[in-house]
Symmetry: C2
Subunit: 345 residues, 2 copies
């Protein structure tokens, strides 16, 4: 009680991934049902015929969202979908969620109803049941904690660590939009705060705003891969940006990689709005985050099955670990990839 | 964006249970595997031979704990055990936890290690694996969100809604200690803040301090009931106080109840320290909360099996709903029970 501080290592010196690695090193699994612990998109629990897949995510006001421009309904929707995204990233099907909610008395019942309406909409859309939760007060703002539970047959789970040299690197949809959408919202907030009479100018930006405010997890991609009879060798969802996620796959699979900038799928709206902000769309795709697309690797022989499908882009290939992790830019220069976790500490 | 408020219902007008009921009313279950949703200690998911049991709890700094007197290691321990308590309250066995953690840069790595050491200690003690989580920054303080996952054979799950008229009401351990322990810690904090040179006086209060700072979930009771071949007709863990929990059992089972004050198990230390604070130990037991004992109902014919066991007290019996919910005090007056959820809004 009332003790003094002595040794002190700042969290900023470690960063998000350093902290997770450090903490995970002290933890071991003892139950035979606990198949996979910390270090993938979700934990895996053996339940006999099926595996139970579990993931959890926290959204903190002022860090992950700004209620000035994140409407509560959208926020509820997003809180659910970002968790479902982690379940799909294991090639599994989400089935249930439980929701922890801490909120202060500045929220009315009507506000909470909006939040729940958004959560319910996401649950309905993806066939998921909201089965429980905890609602508590907070003098700190709004905090949402969602745990999603899914299932998959034992032999269908895809981990981060299965990629092999020469495997192709694929990504669904397009990248960078959510980040550019956020820049736009932050600019308009700033203008609004300076002069509340000026209406926000969000014209011609529907797509990137929706990417930021209402991300959809790629259930359709998981379904499509099954249909095409392609089981990825490794998979992860893109929450922190392509570079950081690909580095997870490489690190855990023991490979290197080469990405080709000219293969990056970037929507024209992302590209144009990025330019307006003086941003490089490639950097937005690499490090922007929150796209919630699926990044996965496939065997070369599966390439033909995916080639004609517009939902996927092949953006590079795995190499041996000793070759490092590179981006080959449009001028054919090779630059080392750099990961960005959160830096918010 | 930037919208105005119109209709506004204050959360204070609803209270915790009113809010939960209101929100739960809008939610229905669609997956056949989702056996039990909101409204019990944990959700139940059908996995074939076994049921998966899931519960989640949030601990918010300034609401659920005060870092002045909750050491981080104890806090980590408690964050896990309060969740395990919900799993045991379903007569199930906890197996895994996932942990969401939001923290600001005022915490050092060493502080987080303390927190994890406490969590790990609880996991080890109860044979549970920490399989995943989410660590994020917060500009607001420390928030812990734990989801626990357990399992039980289909026919062994005990819900809140199975109590029948004439069933006996039993409770494990003793009540009120955690609340009185908290009063003591808050008094000493106040003295310390007024004069940091005065050492806290916590002598002769080990038991109630441990009840507050390091609660143990009653795995031993679940094991003992199994051994005695008693399956409770309903069960709940005591986090909000005896009155409130018993009212949940009655409401969901469609019964009334009579509690006998003179049967309440209250530790002498709880009794003495309550007196020192001018508190009625019975009120502490009824409404204090955080005891994490198990409250359950049994058939009259099972009474003999439990009678000689010091770990259980029989404190009343269920009646018909029309008879209401009463406490019979030591002077044989009957007082209507009142529930206390959180009032922190």
């Amino acid at each position: 009680m009332f003790e003094n501080k002595e040794n002190r290592t700042e969290l900023t010196d470690l960063g998000e991934f350093g902290l997770i690695d450090h903490l995970a090193a002290a933890i071991s699994l003892t139950n035979k049902e606990s198949v996979k612990g910390i270090g993938d998109d979700a934990a895996i629990i053996d339940n006999g015929d099926n595996m139970t897949v579990v993931t959890t995510d926290m959204l903190v006001e002022g860090v992950h969202f700004d209620l000035t421009f994140h409407p509560l309904k959208h926020l509820g929707y997003k809180a659910i979908t970002v968790n479902l995204s982690d379940i799909y990233a294991m090639n599994a099907e989400p089935k249930q969620v439980v929701v922890g909610l801490a909120l202060s008395n500045r929220f009315s019942l009507e506000a909470i109803e909006e939040l729940y309406a958004g959560m319910k909409m996401a649950c309905d859309r993806y066939g998921v049941d909201l089965v429980g939760g905890d609602t508590t007060s907070s003098n700190l703002g709004l905090i949402l904690s969602v745990t999603a539970i899914g299932k998959a047959p034992k032999d269908k789970i895809v981990y981060r660590n299965g990629a092999k040299e020469t495997n192709l690197i694929c990504v669904s949809g397009d990248l960078g939009g959510a980040y550019v959408g956020l820049q736009l919202l932050e600019r308009e907030k700033k203008i609004f705060l300076e002069n509340p009479k000026i209406q926000p100018d969000l014209s011609g930006a529907d797509y990137i705003l929706e990417r930021q405010l209402k991300p959809e997890p790629r259930k359709d991609i998981v379904d499509k891969l099954r249909e095409l009879n392609v089981v990825p060798t490794s998979m992860i969802d893109i929450s922190d940006g392509l570079a950081s996620e690909l580095m997870h796959l490489c690190k855990q699979s023991g490979t290197g990689c080469v990405l080709y900038e000219d293969k990056f799928p970037i929507d024209p709206q992302t590209y144009d709005k990025a330019r307006e902000f003086g941003l490089d769309a490639t950097i937005c795709a690499l490090s922007g985050g929150e796209d919630y697309e699926l990044l996965f690797t496939i065997k070369v022989e599966d390439y033909e099955k995916l080639r004609m499908n517009l939902d996927f882009s092949t953006i590079g290939h795995m190499t041996s670990a000793s070759e490092g992790m590179y981006l080959q830019d449009k001028s054919e220069n090779r630059v080392t990839l750099v990961a960005q976790g959160w830096r918010a500490f």
